[in-house]
């Protein structure tokens, strides 16, 4: 099995491929995709993944609502998105085929589990006639593989009941795709051995299915050839493949370790944020305390209580959960205590799209509290960047004694990419800078502790957790006198405190890097600027436009409040500013308000990330509108390969653009 190439047909080289595993929620497609990703990562490919699963845990089997998919993009060069359109679709049943067909470009390969294409399943998927027989798939190369029957057959003599054996068909599919793309299956076999060590029958059935799939590819002569995607030229170093949620959890542990603060997570389970809780709760050896509260309010309340006690208090949530936390965030702003609020954004309003991504909480993070209540906002741009962004959020929270909002999203949370591991001692050190003694002498010469006596540089107040004699003090949500912290309702004092709180946050602009700008070559007239998880799609879209000979600049914001100090300057250098977002135009509003710039909003809210192709066409449209015709040039790096023609998307023609 280690000889992965078929002798007669040497594998064909591909520079990249996008594979989509799709099946029923119970079919184990996430697992198959994940294992395929791991072996590709171990082979050294660059990659990006996009798990796309239904909100229902088990929608009725065989229905469109129950289809769960995992898309992986592997490449021999640097890539930034999970791919617009799959080159290969693995469809475990008719519903999986139907649900994903419109993402497939003509010429794509479809591998179906033909056993599942029987009348009942066809009906459930809404097919009147079998699409495998009616010519409707003629634009594709379709391979019909009896996955269920082979999988059951190979485990017949292993003592596994046929019903149980059948459940290993995801491993058959994985084995087959592994052969097709020349991935060794040893690592997966080892994983199966370990994972199912206490279930020998399941272990055996999965191993047999995996091998059967691989051998089927080799021997069935169905496929003209296998393919190979060579390792990418990644910077030297040690890599892991990581999801955004895991990177966030590890970033929290790193923040605790680099600050010496005990980590306390107070949270309430909600998709897609829960995995941060799951991951953190595994790592008590770091002194991590995780608390599953009775609701989101208690989650953040407990985190704030822990911060008051001198811990690094963190809360994680998503969707409706962030609404519930608003009042406590306001208290934390008033108390001026460090606190991390991690919002893994999902589609809304209300319960909305629990498992789908969106970027629509930016204005909520900015303004979603009563009163003047500013807080810093940080957003990761890729799954692995969640690590650094979390550390940065913690740095700001501790240094400025303020709650900080980290805006991740569903796509980052579950998507993966290879991450070059940092050296620990390169990570920033966070100094808690606890108060150590009294800081004021009263008129009568008595030493006192004033909880709101600010650091003149940062405007941050002292952090004095209970425990030190002489520093006893009372704080609360009522307006307080600057300095003493005593309750104070005086109008002039309130004005002073309101402006001080705002100035403290605004001042952070001097403590963050300048705008991350890729100006491109030459004089670009157009700037595309984004934030958060759109980074990869924007980068790819900009690359494609450049490959067509256009000058386009790309800026990305890691800090949404305050903005980098040079942002106004950067924006003013470009004639047109395009702002793609997975919302109805939130950053564009902030940029317009802040800098009087004619930001052009380009938005979609379909629960999925932007495609590079739609980004490209939005950029091209803007270029054409400017009257500068595209400079002819062959597609190269980043441009869509011929078999994936870039699509064009309608514009709504009004104040914004709509992507697919």
């Amino acid at each position: 099995m280690s000889d992965t190439s078929s002798k007669e047909h040497p594998p064909q080289l591909l520079d990249r491929v996008v594979i989509r595993f799709a099946g029923d929620s119970g079919d184990g497609m996430q697992l198959a995709g994940d294992r395929f990703t791991t072996s590709s990562a171990l082979l050294g490919n660059d990659l990006a993944t996009f798990p796309d699963f239904p909100a229902e845990i088990r929608a009725p089997a065989g229905t469109l609502a129950g289809v769960s998919a995992f898309q992986v993009h592997i490449s021999d060069h640097d890539i930034s998105t999970p791919g617009d359109a799959p080159n290969v679709l693995v469809a475990m049943n008719p519903a999986a085929l139907r649900a994903n067909l419109d993402t497939l470009p003509p010429g794509a390969t479809i591998i179906v589990n033909v056993d599942a294409f029987e009348e009942r399943n066809l009906r459930k998927a809404g097919y009147e006639v079998n699409p495998l027989g009616d010519g409707s798939l003629s634009a594709y190369t379709v391979y019909e593989v009896p996955m269920t029957s082979i999988t059951t057959e190979v485990s017949k003599d292993a003592g596994v009941k046929p019903r149980d054996a059948e459940r290993s068909k995801n491993f058959f599919a994985l084995g087959l795709i592994s052969w097709l793309y020349t991935r060794p299956v040893e690592a997966t076999a080892a994983w199966v051995n370990e994972r199912y060590a206490d279930k020998p029958l399941v272990q055996e059935a999965n191993l047999r299915a995996l091998k059967a799939g691989f051998h089927f590819g080799e021997t069935a002569e169905l496929f003209e050839s296998s393919y190979e995607v060579r390792p990418a030229e990644l910077a030297p170093g040690e890599y892991v493949n990581i999801t955004g949620n895991t990177a966030t959890a590890w970033g929290l542990i790193a923040a605790a370790s680099r600050s010496g603060l005990p980590l306390f997570l107070g949270t309430y389970p909600i998709t897609p944020a829960s995995d941060i809780l799951h991951e953190l709760s595994k790592h008590k050896e770091f002194g991590v305390r995780t608390f599953q509260a009775e609701d989101e309010i208690a989650g953040i309340g407990a985190a704030l209580g822990a911060s008051f006690g001198g811990a690094l208090g963190v809360t994680t949530t998503s969707g409706p959960g962030i609404d519930l936390k608003a009042e406590m965030i306001g208290l934390a702003i008033n108390l001026e205590l460090p606190l991390l609020i991690i919002d893994v954004q999902r589609g809304g309003p209300s319960t909305g799209l629990p498992t789908k991504t969106e970027q629509a909480d930016l204005l909520h993070a900015m303004y979603g509290r009563h009163g003047e209540a500013p807080l810093p906002i940080v957003a990761p741009k890729t799954p692995s960047d969640c690590f650094a962004a979390t550390l940065e959020a913690a740095r700001l929270a501790v240094k400025y004694r303020t709650p900080v909002m980290l805006l991740s999203d569903g796509y980052l949370a579950n998507g993966t990419e290879p991450w070059r591991l940092p050296e620990i001692d390169e990570l920033p050190v966070i100094d808690p800078g606890f108060a150590t003694g009294t800081n004021h002498v009263d008129g009568d010469g008595v030493a006192a502790f004033w909880p709101y006596l600010r650091d003149p540089d940062t405007l941050a107040r002292p952090w004095a957790p209970p425990g030190l004699a002489g520093l006893e003090h009372r704080i609360g949500g009522l307006e307080k006198e600057d300095g003493t912290g005593n309750v104070n309702y005086d109008g002039a004092n309130h004005e002073r405190m309101t402006r001080l709180r705002a100035a403290k946050i605004a001042g952070i602009a001097n403590d963050i890097p300048p705008t991350e700008l890729d100006p491109g070559e030459g004089d670009a007239a157009i700037l595309v600027i984004g934030w958060g998880s759109t980074y990869g799609a924007i980068a790819a879209g900009v690359q494609r436009a450049r490959a067509r000979g256009h000058q386009v600049a790309h800026a990305h914001l890691d800090h949404l409040n305050p903005f980098p100090a040079d942002l106004g300057d950067v924006l003013s250098r470009y004639e047109k500013v395009l702002v793609p977002e997975v919302n109805l135009g939130q950053l564009s509003r902030l940029l317009r308000a802040e800098y009087l710039v004619d930001a052009i909003s380009f938005t979609q809210v379909k629960g999925v990330p932007f495609r590079a192709a739609s980004m490209e066409s939005a950029i091209l449209e803007l270029i054409n509108a400017r009257g500068v015709g595209p400079v002819p040039g062959g597609p190269s790096e980043g441009a869509p390969p011929a078999e994936h023609p870039g699509r064009t998307f309608p514009s709504n023609g009004s104040n914004g653009k709509v992507a697919d």
Partner: protein, 350 residues
Amino acid sequence: MTDLADAPTGDQAVAVPLTTRKDWSSDQEVRWCPGCGDYSILAAVQMLMPELGVRRERTVFLSGIGCAARFPYYMNTYGLHSIHGRAPAIATGLAATRPDLDVWVVTGDGDSLSIGGNHLIHALRRNINITILLFNNQIYGLTKGQYSPTSEVHKVTKSTPFGSLEQPFNPLSLALGAEATFVARTHDMDRKHMMEVFRRAHAHRGASFVEIYQNCNVFNDGAFEAITGKDQRADMLIPLVHGAPIRFGTEGQRGVVMRTDGTVEIVDATSVDESELLVHDEHRDNPGLAFQLSHLAAGPTEPTPVGIFRDVERPEYGTEMRRQVDQVIERRGPGDLHHLLRSGSSWTVE
């Protein structure tokens, strides 16, 4: 990562200094209405603190919003006046991470039973190491006199001019139903009784719940007069004494017995044999009898038990949380960030 509870603050080596009430009083002017029952509760707490042998710097008073919730400002300790109803949640994070602290939660009947009801029951169930003082005045004081979840049905208030329609909560029954390990009741007219109950509540490890009948002389004056008035007390308050038969009345002429169906009733103690009287047992594992006693009076107009209803031991949350952390560290060794990042399958690019 250090554990703040272990952080050397230097005070462990030094004996707890002797203090007086004055040391525990902050410099802030107390701003309750003149005559409010809150004053006497504050006095009882401030007078008790020097007797407890605890340190001011290891003591935290935490509250939500309401008249009662102003309490922390008046204590010369660490203090946090938070938001309406959420103090038990905030206290949970504090107490769970700082087992070295004495955390007191001061709350009102609206604060803890209306907006914060959920946090209260969960803090009790989890047995968080906090001492909850619920100032029950059966009214919303701070918002100027609306009915509260402990107001009697038909109560006429600003928001219920034709009378409220709601069955009130019985705070003690609620706490017992929420698996509280320490449940007690006292009232603002008897400083000695308050101090004794608070002392016991403080000594209890885990969540202690104390209901204090508190007079709001502005919006609900005299709500407890029928039982706490100097002349009424002997006949209307039923002192619960651990290990003793439950009796009351100026001559001890009335007592409590258990009926055959498990409910309790007040009887003429002179007409039954002493052995038939119910002997109070704070440590009874089953909360059923304590629940019966909490329901003995339908409201503060009938003979009402006061004192400690229940005091049982159960693992305390913060200690358990810490034990779990310690166990994992012992098994795996202290966490190493370098290894954590490599805990999945990593690969090297040369």
